[in-house]
Amino acid sequence: MRRPAFLSQGSRAALPITLFLLAGFVAPLIAVIWFSFMPPRTFSLAAAPSLENYATIFDSTSYISFLWSLALAAATVVLLVLVCYPVAYGLVRKFGKWAMLLTLLFTIPLFVSENIRLYGWVLFLIKNGVLLGSLKTYFGLELESILFTRTAILLGMVYVYLPFMLFPLTLGISMVPNETRDAAFDLGASRWQVFREVELPLSMPGIVIGFLLTFVLAVGAITEAKVLGGQRIIPVAHDIEIAFTYAQNWPLGAALSVLLMLVVGALVLAALWRFDLDRFLGRK
């Protein structure tokens, strides 16, 4: 149409967001990486680089919090896939005109900040709270609260990250054309075979995104452990926060962050490298 001034139209449109993210995302992460190589408890970026912080992590108990975060995130993801797949399936194939309303209902809590919603669980699970209080008053049962246990933390994480698994799954399942399913059925496949041969492979992009998003967010979870776990488990994000605030040891916090970023980065790269985002998001 017209010869572009000096960059193509696309790259010019991409400029504002790219510059912004360079300054707001890339730069802080580089700062963090740089800090991780600084001597412990210093605040300057000009000191001689050292690997002390990384050594500290593996010598001390910090790596335990790391493993706990990974384990909790993995458990959360597995539970969420099982919980969300039937719902996503229903939303795409069964609920018809109700699907929009249900989707809206599932979306609303996303915009209520997570500490409020988690606090609701505290009110539900605490001694003399909604659950235990009712059980005591109406049924005469006096049970122990599961609050401040590891189960509670897992519950909180499944709760908070549910929409992040549900919506990608829904998108993935909607990518399976109805007629392709019918065809497999028509060709003699049983319901289970149709699922295994057609539905599952064709909805895989959605499953991958759901897994990835949920895991990555869950591995950095902190509020659930603080609010519902009562310090039972210190996830790695909490360790990082402690290092940055109470312990005043920025380099250590930075080193922990770098390790977390490596894990997250590796996963994201592996999953998204050959992912066709255009097809997934609905390019006509």
Binding site: E179, D182, A183, F185, D186, L187, Q193
Partner: protein, 355 residues
């Protein structure tokens, strides 16, 4: 000698969605090995009917019999029928070979045997062997059609259903595929039930045609019958441009054309006929100099002329009505727009329909 029992029998089959009757009281017998085509405009219910026979939809009423046995409750994956969908519904994540072999893999047939059968079918469908490992997403439109057909034929079927596969194809490729489908039908000797909205296409391939309108089967017959003896106005207008004249019964075995206000000699007036339409196909109208050359003649003005490849179409204005005349190029009529012309037809070349 009694006629062989039909392979497929539909008795009072109907389907309603809420108050909307998509399919209404269909009674039909399809003979084994027949190429039967269901023709109708969009929304006439043909796809719904097909889906019911294939097992994708439950009829609201009526029975579907396969070789005399009621199959209403047999699920689609157990019926000895297979369907080629309008969208083809190929498995995009699989290769050509894997698509074709799908039903064989489901049955547990060994890899080698599957491949042999797949290559056989690819030969039949004129797919080059090199396509076997090709991803279906990389195949052309024509190749995909053939893969879809091969996949369906690999299934141990007795009836093959084909739902409007050629509507999105350009006309040259379509003509080739129509002929090839007919060849495959002859070679495999299976029963084919085909759906299309184009009567021309149906006429090329079918042994018999069923015309559907608003959920009902309005006529079933061979292509010749459908063409030359349509039951009603809808069927007669389904192919090409036709001339339709509203008529009432008049004295002496004649008909009175209501809009032209003249008497016409009909082919044969059935008992109890009071009013309806006289249908004359454009190729049966002639330009005449003397009205006595033909049974029926009208006079008007030459209005338009269209070149349609091997034929030329003339439009003649007679009063308020426009008549369409078609002539082969070699027999073109020498006339100028605005000329006064007389056109006519023989009674035997016209069709009387009651609507």
């Amino acid at each position: 000698m009694a006629a062989p029992a039909p392979i497929l029998s539909l008795k009072a089959v109907a389907k309603s969605f809420g108050t909307f009757k998509a399919v209404d009281d269909i009674n039909l017998d399809i003979a084994e090995g027949e190429f039967f085509t269901i023709v109708g405009p969009s929304g006439s219910g043909k796809t719904t009917l097909l889906r019911m026979i294939a097992g994708m939809e439950q009829p609201s009423g009526g029975d579907i019999l396969l070789r005399g046995e009621r199959i209403n409750d047999v699920p689609a994956n157990k019926r000895p029928t297979c369907m080629v969908f309008q969208s083809l519904a190929l498995f995009p994540h699989r290769t050509v070979g894997e698509n074709i072999e799908f039903s064989l893999k489901i049955k547990g047939i060994s890899k080698e045997a599957r491949k042999v059968r797949a290559l056989e079918l690819m030969d039949l469908l004129r797919l080059p062997q090199s396509c076997y490992a090709k991803s279906v997403m990389k195949c052309s439109g024509g190749e995909r059609q053939r893969v879809a057909l091969a996949r369906a034929l690999a299934y141990d079927l007795q009836i093959l259903f084909i739902d409007e596969p050629l509507s999105a194809i350009d006309s040259k490729l379509r003509k080739t595929l129509e002929k090839e489908l007919k060849d495959i039908h002859r070679e495999t000797k299976k029963t084919f039930v085909y759906i299309t909205h184009s009567l021309e296409e149906a006429m090329v391939m079918s042994d018999r045609i069923g015309v559907m309108q608003a959920g009902k089967l309005v006529q079933v017959g061979t292509p010749e019958v459908i063409y030359s003896a349509p039951n009603n106005r809808f069927v007669s207008e389904f192919i090409g441009d036709v001339n339709v004249i509203g008529v009432d019964v008049a004295a002496g075995g004649l008909l009175h054309a209501t809009s032209l206000d003249t008497s016409l000699k009909p082919p044969a007036v059935p008992q109890g006929f009071s009013s309806g339409h006289l249908v004359i196909r454009p190729e049966f109208l002639r330009f005449v100099t003397e009205p006595s050359e033909v049974d029926n003649a009208v006079t008007g003005r030459l209005y338009n002329e269209y070149a349609l490849g091997s034929r030329i179409q003339y439009q003649v204005r007679v009063g308020e009505a426009v008549f369409v005349v078609e002539k082969l190029r070699q027999q073109a009529f020498n006339g100028v727009r605005g000329d006064k012309v007389t056109i006519g037809w023989d009674a035997a070349d016209s069709i009387l329909v009651t609507d």
